[in-house]
């Protein structure tokens, strides 16, 4: 590795800190820019084996050849990929010393979402008595999981401890060359989660509970791999209803799900990253590749509530490879102010008797643009494939837009595919009805929106459903004139 003098200096600086009591954040950041050396440096920092380094490098080489996709219905200033620092150690230093220092607006939101005080502190980045709450709770969880033989750890740990699983499955569902952002992620992913459910095991808890407490700044290039072995079941929740004030503008995550024979994975996402201010300044670019592979009789269910990010580009997909496998997609995407979302799903029917359901609810307000983009593909050998898709859009105000781009491709005569879409606004009569009964307009709208999204909210794990409902309310605040 050819070091520049400056890099060497940095390297030495870091080294010194290894023995220090705590790591200073600033010195543990790689210089801006992206090249093979940076990729190798990331891999080295994570003490990865040689094959992983090679894997990353190959991804980087293909990324260099690729172009940023432009087909999505979103407009933004393209990020300068050489102006980003691709590695920064998790932020260990608390941002605030007590809750009083935290932005009161943020605290108010927490309160309304019904998040417990300790969690509030954790989420806002307030120093928490770690030994007392989170870790102890986390340890109990860890014990329960270990008893069942469930592996749940960060992906860097998994690369060290379970290389055989990682080697076998990483990049299997989302190949490195899949798309621009997936290639970028494969080259530079900082961390993420790994989960393996052994044969016939039903994961005793929503992995969300654990995750929410244990979530540390996993960085902007997250990589998640969930493997459900034969006959197992897991419910996994990613993200958080709490608003997250992340400084990283570009997020390019990859999520791979593998459901082996008779397994079931339920993956729920609540995304509420910084959407930019009311004038559309700032905000997170969220370019995510999510895909699941279903073997025989397996089932993958994606549920997502997308309220944050300035730009969302996300298509959780299911490859229904095994016979009798099932794919589901339930989504609520809310855009307000200047947010733009282009989201949807792909259902690829390869096996016989495969079934898929798509329910997508888009709500646009302010000056936002909300698109549903989906593909239902029935291949020649997928006898008796069945799909039902429904995408409904709700428009609030006439400065926003709702768009649908559903692609349907059928190559088998026994396929049964239904697709329907509607676009409408909240009826004045509905609001009038509520007003008459003493419910003010803002509450009435929340009520109607919740009703509109009910089919999807019902699919969320209980506690999150409650929070997500409130989240919808908050996201649409002030959108009614």
């Amino acid at each position: 590795m050819a070091y520049t003098e400056e890099e060497l200096k940095k390297e030495l600086e870091t080294k010194e800190y290894e023995y220090g009591f705590y790591t200073d954040i600033e010195s543990d950041t790689l210089p801006k820019g992206l090249n093979e050396e940076i990729v190798m440096a990331i891999s080295k920092k994570k003490e990865e084996p040689q094959w992983m380094t090679e894997w990353r490098l190959e991804a980087f080489r293909s990324w260099k050849e690729m172009e940023e996709p432009e087909w999505a219905n979103i407009h933004y200033k393209k990020p300068d990929f050489q102006d980003i620092s691709y590695y920064s150690a998790p932020n260990k230093k608390p941002k605030y010393n007590s809750l009083d220092e935290v932005d009161p607006e943020l605290l108010d939101t927490f309160k309304r979402l019904g998040i417990s005080l300790d969690e509030q502190k954790k989420l806002a980045g307030v120093a928490v008595d770690i030994v007392m709450d989170s870790v102890s709770v986390a340890t109990t969880f860890k014990k329960t999981l270990a008893e069942k033989g469930i592996i749940f750890c960060s992906i860097s740990e998994a690369i060290q401890d379970h290389p055989e699983l990682i080697r076998k499955y990483i990049g299997k569902v989302v190949p490195r060359k899949d798309n621009f952002y997936a290639a970028l992620n494969s080259a530079v992913f900082s961390d993420g989660s790994f989960c393996y459910i052994p044969k016939g095991v039903r994961c005793p808890m929503e992995l969300s509970t654990y995750f929410r407490i244990n979530q540390a700044g996993t960085g902007q290039f997250e990589r998640t791999l969930v493997i459900a072995d034969k006959g197992s079941y897991v419910s996994y929740l990613e993200g958080c209803t709490a608003p997250s004030r992340d400084e990283n503008q570009l997020h390019a995550a990859v999520v791979e799900l593998i459901a082996l024979d008779d397994a079931e994975i339920k993956y729920s996402t609540v995304q509420n990253w910084f959407p930019g201010d009311k004038e559309g300044k700032g905000g997170v670019y969220n370019f995510v590749t999510k895909r699941g592979l279903c073997e025989k009789n397996a089932k993958i269910s994606w549920t997502q509530v997308e309220t944050g990010s300035a730009i969302t580009w996300k298509y959780p997909s299911c490859i229904l490879k095994g016979d009798n496998s099932i794919g589901e997609f339930y989504s609520i995407a809310v855009t307000n102010n200047y947010q733009q979302a282009d989201t949807g799903t792909k259902m690829i029917h390869l096996g016989k008797n495969t079934r898929s359901t798509i329910i997508s609810k888009g709500i646009s307000a302010g000056k936002s643009q909300n698109s549903y983009r989906g593909l239902v593909q029935v291949n020649k050998r997928a006898d008796n494939a069945r799909n039902f898709s429904q995408c409904d859009s709700l428009l609030m105000g006439n400065k926003c837009g709702a768009h649908t781009f559903p692609y349907i491709e059928a190559k088998n005569k026994s396929a049964q595919i239904e697709h329907e879409a509607t676009t409408s606004k909240i009826g004045e009569d509905q609001i009038f009805y509520c007003n008459q009964r003493g419910i003010d307009t803002e509450k009435a709208i929340a009520l109607i929106v919740n009703g509109f999204s009910k089919e999807v909210l019902n699919k969320l794990p209980m506690e999150f459903a409650v929070e997500a409902q409130k989240l919808l309310e908050i996201s649409l605040e002030g959108s009614v004139g």
Binding site: C400, G401, I408, E409, A410, K413, A415, T423
Partner: protein
Amino acid sequence: MGSKHTENIDLREKLVSSFLAFQSHVDVDHPVHDIRSEAIRNFEIKGFPNRKEEAWKYTSLGKLQKIDFSIFPKKVNALEYSDVKQYFLHEMDTYKIVFIDGIYSSYLSETTHDGVDICLMSAALTKPIYEPIIELYFNKAAKGEDSLTSLNTAFSKEGAYIYIPKSKAPIKPIEIIHFATGKESSLMLQPRNLIIAEENAELQIIERHQSLTSNDVLTNAVTEIFAAKNSIVDYYKVQNDSSNASLIDNTYISQKQGSAVHVHTFSFGGNITRNNLNFYQDGERIDSTLKGVTILNNKQHVDHHTLVHHQQPNCESHQDYKGIYADKATGVFNGKIIVDEVAQKTNAFQQNNNILISDDATINTKPQLEIFADDVKCSHGCTIGQLDEEALFYLRARGIPRKEAQALLMYAFANNVLESVRIPELKLRINKLIAEKLGVHLGFDL
């Protein structure tokens, strides 16, 4: 003809170089010629669309471009009426504008200048009396970036010209028929139609492209329709061509306040058929109707691309496309509805239902909505399925053979679209074509 033929010459190059020869046949000082020259430049830059373009994702013109088409027919071919009578709607009296290999056939036609103008594009493009109208309308709806439309514009010379003045209506429907004989070689045709209905005018048009040869035929047609205030235009496209004939049919419709335009497309034949049907609503209380029945077998390929652009408030659009696909046929439906910010109170409906009756048949459908106004009702529905086994059993239990029972159900499936055909003779003809296509004799008129 100035172009020299070489083997496997690129069709695009050939067309561009043929434009030089074409210029010697038209009046280059006419204002329209500037439009032509600009159009050929656009085509030269863009060329034929390929599958990398979103709008052509499912339809490839690659094979057609390898064919050595003759751009200009070598000589005038005549046809006897008795030989082609079956392609006319002979059960009723109609005005007829007939072209053989792109050349007007006065013998087979019946035109008029009595109160309304039902005549030829070549006349409209050359005679000074038509100049103000041409200047006002020609290429006004079709102008744009589309390369195939530009190609047609560049070679625009002949086609149907129909002008219905204020509050007039022709006494009978108008048939526009393009025959291709192409006796010597493969033939490329580029008819250009201009149809203008002034305020309160009403007319009905039936259009057909028919190849009578086993040589390849490629038709790249452009039709512009201008429907002024409160006018009514009914347009029926009958596409039942031979298996060597391909059609790219570009239709641009500009509607003003209170007008109603209904376009029905019946696609039963041809090799590759691509319909680009574009509606632009430029006024309030407009009604646009797009309906289609597609029944395909063998290796046929039909691609329906529709666009309805709602630019003003209080308008409606209705789309209903039914498709039945057998053998190795491929069907594409891409329906796009755009509702502008100002187009409040828009009602836009779109439906696309398909039946696959073979494992080798393919359907690709993409109903697309782009909505920028909030007080609208827009919906689309799309299904792919099979005939109901129980209904089939019911019919067969009553002694109806399987094939006939299937045909009955398929007919019922397509019937919604047929119901709105307002010329009874045409409806009957379509029914017969459907029965023929399904290969059954039901013993009664459907």
